[in-house]
């Protein structure tokens, strides 16, 4: 679901085909009939943005028919845990959970806590939301004060146990409702339910695959939560052939979250310190609960080792390992916030390394206007991409909004070496590091990113060497002494040396570390990314392991290296039953070897090696030692998988169907139309199309979705410059159903233009039955799809599809809702120049679009104070949803 694996991940899709050849059934649930659908056993089309309604229907089907894998659910999930009496579900608040503050548009999660667990104190949801709290909790999940001593009901019948809460929450997600909301027929829906639930139990598993079709929504994290709940109910996590597989957007994107290019994370999913943290102790205490279970309890070891890697000798126990050198964040510094700040004149310089936001990011126009208002911009890329040339070929040149002569931004372009011209690792979708050797020397001035950053740092340090300014100390004290290869003024830094330092070193012996379990907080170890510790275990670069799959078993531990600890299936303790025996012979992966007193199996066991299955920790124990023998989810604070998330997800403890920010449909399940916690930015330069209950939505009557083609690479920087790829998809097109074509007078291969309140985009028409109108709640809704790879540069050019999208974000991840919007489509080409601006203004006038459109996030038919009253932290001054919601917008603009 939400994945077009065959087109976006064709190489990985070979394994789906392999599974299919061996008898697996492949179901594709996606708005579009894609090349993936063509190879699937069944394609079920649904309306873009309605996935939670569908998944909620599946959950309801499982629970109402007792189809869950009860033994697994009872033992390994938090199904039996009781939730506090203060919690109020969406069933009772018309789509809101308890703890909602309409003033800020955020949740206080304190009412979502387990009974008898020590509730988190001073949870500041506001700040959490600003700092993208979901990511902040990283791979370890959010903290709980205590992982032991939670009230449970093993019968799963207590009305406040997670299982019953789940059951009640999803009870209205009936097949009829799925049909009305998603446009999926009852028969198709039940067929999917039957197939999915039959792949459950001791003998069977099913894998769930998603991609950016799920993440790029205003409630993307909740989509994934919904999928994970199903997989947990069916016992499909931690077992071979199971899992929730996130296919990442492109090469090494997984790596760029592990060792992040994100403002709110440090390597290994350690949160970035914020302004509250006076010292390291404060910081560590904010990450972990004092008594929580699992490995996240050892966060101090990880951060100290990281600081030792950054500042080496300069970091000592006396100076708190230079924790004060780390930058602090004090709010939203995400990419979209930054771009708006650029427009508002608050940002002066910008580095773009292998990114082409003028084409590839939502609301391309906003991106270009931002980049045109800088002092300097550095672009490192393979070719002259649009983000390096916007000052002379942006669409805004034609409208007069950018003029080359007056654009103040000075653009520096640095040619980059391609992946075959440099060595290093890719970390791909399956958390696997794979080493690449250099195949060619880069030509001319092309250099690696490593080279650029290393020498930039070196030169900055040289220029500042005599500085006495305190603020230059972090830079000057850096252990910037990577090994280099070759001679001359600008030798290439050694990627191998960097990987060694990421792996980590015992500073007392100089030996490479074998595992993150060796990390300490006493300053005797240094590691650049704790979850990568072990990639260089035994002094061997395991990322370079290349034993063919034909020469090893199917777990293939000898190919590359997967974090953590070369584990291929996370939480694989769950592949054995509570007593430590494999659930079944054909699904065995990891099990307890009683004779040797340790966990063993085909994979590296993801559990304390010698903790026996029957082990019960003392009340109040903490850390890995507090894990019971049947707590497979060792990074969770309570050792269990969370069907219900008492914290860590800022927009609700359970997934709930809300309509997308822009939708032609009212929410048929609740009065609450859209996600109440989504981040909206009501600005003149970021208008929204109206959605119910606002009027004027009929001006943009069609559901719009954008995606990729196999033939091109994201924003086209790596494909539109190449003839062999350009010729395969030479022009921007828009796909419409024959019915919509007839309705709007569109002819195959003729020009048409797609309009939103932000932009109008020209494209050639492809009329295809792959696009099929959906019947929703008695009306027909058409979907329109466009690939987004084109821009004004390159061998083949075209309008920028991302200009059509506005900026509205998932509050957990700060990821934009770019997979669904509303639009209009008309035959013929769009107006050009100033006429285009007038054309769009006329559209907005007809639809009644103002700065406020879409910013009234609360539409539940309960007063906001009802919701707030259920929590202990009633927001003062919340008088009504509409007026208070405006406060959200104001705050955003003030920020």
């Amino acid at each position: 679901m939400g994945s077009n694996m065959a087109e976006a991940h064709p190489v990985g899709f070979q394994w789906v085909m392999e599974a299919k050849a061996r008898g697996a059934k492949v179901l594709h649930i996606d708005p579009r009939f894609t090349r993936t659908s063509a190879l699937a056993d069944k394609h079920v089309p649904l309306r873009a943005g309605s996935d939670i309604a569908f998944l909620g229907g599946v959950i309801n089907h499982i629970l109402s028919n007792d189809l869950d894998f009860r033994e697994y659910v009872r033992a390994y999930t938090n199904a039996s845990f009781l939730v506090g009496e203060e919690f109020v579900d969406t069933e009772d608040l018309d789509g809101l959970f308890s703890g909602y503050d309409p003033e800020t548009g955020t949740y206080d999660t304190s009412t979502w806590q387990y009974e008898n667990g020590f509730p988190e104190d001073s949870v500041e949801s506001e700040r959490h939301r600003e700092q993208s709290a979901g990511e902040q909790h990283g791979s370890g999940g959010p903290k709980l004060e205590s992982g032991t001593g939670i009230a449970t009901d093993q019968t799963l019948e207590h009305p406040r146990c997670v299982f019953q809460i789940l059951k009640r929450h999803f009870s209205r997600y009936t097949p009829e409702m799925v049909e009305r909301i998603c446009g999926v027929s009852r028969e198709d829906f039940l067929e999917v339910c039957r197939a999915w639930t039959s792949a459950s139990g001791r003998e069977h598993t099913a894998a769930l695959v998603y991609s950016v079709g799920w993440t790029q929504h205003s409630m993307g994290a909740q989509y994934i939560r919904a999928g994970a709940i199903i997989q947990l109910l069916l016992g499909n996590i931690g077992r071979p052939g199971g899992g929730v597989l996130a296919l990442r957007g492109h090469a090494s994107i997984q790596g760029s979250t592990d060792i992040p290019t994100l403002y709110n994370l440090l390597p290994g999913y350690l949160p970035m310190p914020d302004a509250r943290h006076a010292d390291k102790r404060d910081y560590v205490e904010s990450i972990r609960g004092t008594h929580q279970k699992g490995y996240w309890h050892n966060a101090d070891d990880y951060i100290v080792s990281l600081l030792k890697e950054y500042w080496g000798e300069a970091a000592t126990e006396e100076n708190d390992y230079r924790f004060d050198y780390l930058p602090r964040i004090d709010g939203d510094h995400g990419t979209y916030r930054t771009v708006m700040d650029m427009i508002d004149g608050k940002v002066f310089g910008y580095f773009l390394l292998g990114q082409n936001p003028a084409v590839g990011s939502a609301h391309g126009r906003l991106q270009r206007l931002g980049m045109a208002n800088l002092d300097w911009l550095v672009v490192r890329d393979l070719t002259m991409i649009e983000s390096a040339e916007f000052w002379r070929n942006a669409p805004e040149i034609e409208t007069g909004e950018i003029t080359a002569e007056q654009c103040r931004t000075e653009v520096f372009f640095f040619p980059a070496a391609s992946h075959v011209e440099k060595e290093g690792t890719f970390t791909q979708t399956q958390r696997m590091l794979q080493w690449r050797d250099r195949a060619l020397e880069p030509r001319g001035d092309q250099r690696s990113e490593l080279w650029f950053i290393y020498h930039l740092g070196r030169i900055l340090r040289r220029k500042l060497a005599t500085s006495t300014d305190e603020r230059d100390r972090p830079l000057l004290d850096l252990a910037w002494d990577y090994r280099t290869e070759g001679d001359g003024e600008f030798p290439e830094p050694s990627a191998d040396d960097v990987l060694r330092r990421i792996n980590g070193v015992d500073l007392t012996t100089g030996e490479l570390l074998d595992s993150y379990q060796q990390l300490t907080s006493d300053g005797t170890t240094a590691a650049g990314c704790w979850i990568y510790s072990g990639v260089y275990a035994g002094g061997v670069n395991h990322a370079r392991n290349r034993t063919a799959r034909t020469e090893q078993d199917e777990t293939a531990l000898e190919w590359g290296w997967a974090w953590p600890a070369n584990r291929r299936v996370l939480y694989n303790r769950a592949s054995a039953d509570p007593q430590g025996r494999p659930w079944s012979e054909r699904k065995k992966l990891v099990w307890w070897d009683a004779e040797r007193g340790e966990w063993t199996g085909h994979d590296v066991p993801d559990f304390p090696k010698t903790t026996p299955p029957e082990f019960e920790p003392e009340y109040g124990e903490a850390g890995p030692g507090a894990l019971a023998g049947d707590d497979p989810f060792i990074m969770q604070a309570d050792g269990k998988a969370w069907l219900f998330a008492p914290s860590g997800v800022v927009d609700g403890p359970l997934p709930t169907h809300y309509e997308p920010h822009e939708s032609p449909m009212p929410n048929l399940l609740y009065g609450q139309q859209g996600s109440p916690a989504r981040k909206v930015y009501g600005r003149e330069d970021n208008p929204s199309n109206p959605a119910p209950p606002e009027g004027g939505g009929d001006v943009f009557p069609f559901v719009f979705t954008a995606a990729r083609l196999t033939e091109h690479h994201t924003a086209g920087g790596m494909s539109r410059q190449l003839a062999y790829l350009s010729e395969l998809q030479p022009a921007l097109f828009v796909e419409v159903s024959p019915q919509l074509a007839a309705e709007r007078g569109l002819e195959n291969l003729d020009w048409a233009h797609v309009v939103t309140s932000r932009a109008a985009v020209d494209a050639r028409v492809l009329v295809t039955e792959r696009m099929r109108p959906l019947r929703l709640d008695g009306r027909v809704v058409h979907q329109v799809w466009m690939p987004y790879h084109w821009g004004p540069s390159g061998k083949v050019d075209g309008d920028v599809v991302n200009d059509l999208l506005g900026v509205v974000l998932d509050p957990n991840t700060m990821i934009q809702e770019s997979k669904v919007a509303t639009c209009d489509i008309r035959p013929g080409r769009r107006p050009r120049g100033c006429e285009l601006l007038e054309y769009l203004a006329e559209y907005r006038r007809r639809a009644g679009v103002t700065v406020e459109t879409g910013t009234h996030v609360v539409t539940a038919h309960t007063t906001a104070s009802d919701a707030a009253a259920t929590s202990d932290t009633t927001a003062p001054g919340s008088t009504g949803s509409h007026t208070t919601a405006q406060g959200t917008t104001d705050r955003e603009e003030d920020a």
Binding site: P738, A741, E747, N748, L749, V767, E769
Partner: protein, 332 residues
């Protein structure tokens, strides 16, 4: 590509209009294809090749008349047709080389002799045929002062054997071009394989006869008139068979540009043949009818060529007969 695209409508995939049962698909005009696109490549040859078909045929017929005129002492007919044979051969040689994608490599034709390639056979046929035609023609135009040299004498002595030798090969030259076209996958040519040699031989005879009527005085041109008449009748009769007896492929001959060219060819050939019978001793009438026969022959070649091209553009000429064959379970 744009040409085939022109036919495509919005829901272009013609396969969607296909009937469910494959057996229904083989009736004419109701067949399945890939977006209506051609299955075969169009011949890359342009006007040069049909022009060669004409000049080659003309040369061969002239060589025959020249030999006959030589033996029956018709010097003016002999001279005209010997020169005609050489002219036709020269034009043919030029056309054949000019049509190559790499004309400078024309001699690669002489690397091998391949019986499976009619073009190779034809090349060697022309190589054998050419010297005789050349020697006979040169002897004809040798200035009188050179005739007395030993070379002149030699040429004079060789002229007749050379002419006879070329005449012996001329029937091959006149008819092999039919195999050249038929020995392809081009439906209109391949399906016409049993009839095309007669069309081409007739057309060549008509052209050669016409040439003789134009260039030779009336009192020597009787064989030319006869040859023209027999050739024209043969061409007319067998050409009509192409229109009617080739199944769906006949449509390629009956329609479009091929049809227009061949219709004019028919008018001119029939008219020319009729006029040659009625012309009597009028030189003017002979010249007019000879020109008509020449033009008719040329248009016939261009028409047949065009039918072949058209039969590759439209997939029905490939799909329909083959589909029918498959559905009937016939061996190819």
């Amino acid at each position: 590509m744009s040409r085939s695209l022109g036919r495509m409508s919005a829901d272009a995939a013609q396969q969607r209009t296909a009937p469910a049962a494959a057996s229904d698909a083989a009736s004419d005009g109701d067949f399945r294809s890939y977006y209506g696109r051609r299955v075969l490549k169009e011949p890359v040859w342009e006007w040069l090749v049909p022009a060669y078909l004409f000049t080659g045929g003309l040369s061969a017929a002239c060589a025959e008349l020249a030999a006959g005129a030589d033996l029956t002492r018709r010097p003016r007919l002999r001279k005209a047709t010997r020169l005609g044979a050489l002219g036709g051969l020269g034009a043919s040689t030029y056309l054949l080389i000019a049509d190559l994608g790499r004309p400078e490599r024309f001699h690669h034709m002489l690397r091998v002799a391949k019986p499976s390639s009619p073009m190779s056979v034809g090349t060697w046929l022309l190589v054998a045929y050419g010297p005789g035609v050349g020697a006979a023609a040169v002897a004809e135009v040798l200035p009188s002062r050179l005739r007395r040299t030993w070379l002149g004498k030699l040429l004079g002595a060789l002229a007749r054997p050379a002419g006879l030798a070329s005449a012996a090969l001329a029937p091959g030259v006149a008819s092999y071009t039919a195999v050249l076209l038929s020995h392809t996958a081009v439906p209109a040519w391949n399906e016409a394989r049993d009839r095309l040699p007669f069309v081409f031989a007739g057309s060549a005879a008509a052209a050669g006869g016409g040439f003789g009527m134009v260039c030779a005085p009336v009192d020597e041109a009787e064989p030319a008139r006869r040859l023209a008449a027999v050739g024209a009748v043969t061409e007319l009769v067998t050409s009509r068979q192409l229109d009617e007896r080739l199944g769906i492929v006949s449509e390629a001959y009956r329609t479009g540009k091929a049809h227009r060219l061949r219709q004019w060819s028919e008018y001119l050939t029939a008219g020319g043949a009729l006029a040659s019978l009625l012309a009597g001793r009028s030189r003017t009438a002979g010249v007019v009818s000879g020109l008509a026969l020449l033009a008719g022959s040329a248009l016939q070649r261009f028409g047949i060529f065009e039918a072949g091209v058209e039969s590759t553009r439209d997939p029905k000429y490939v799909v329909v007969p083959q589909r029918r064959r498959v559905d009937r379970g016939e061996q190819a």
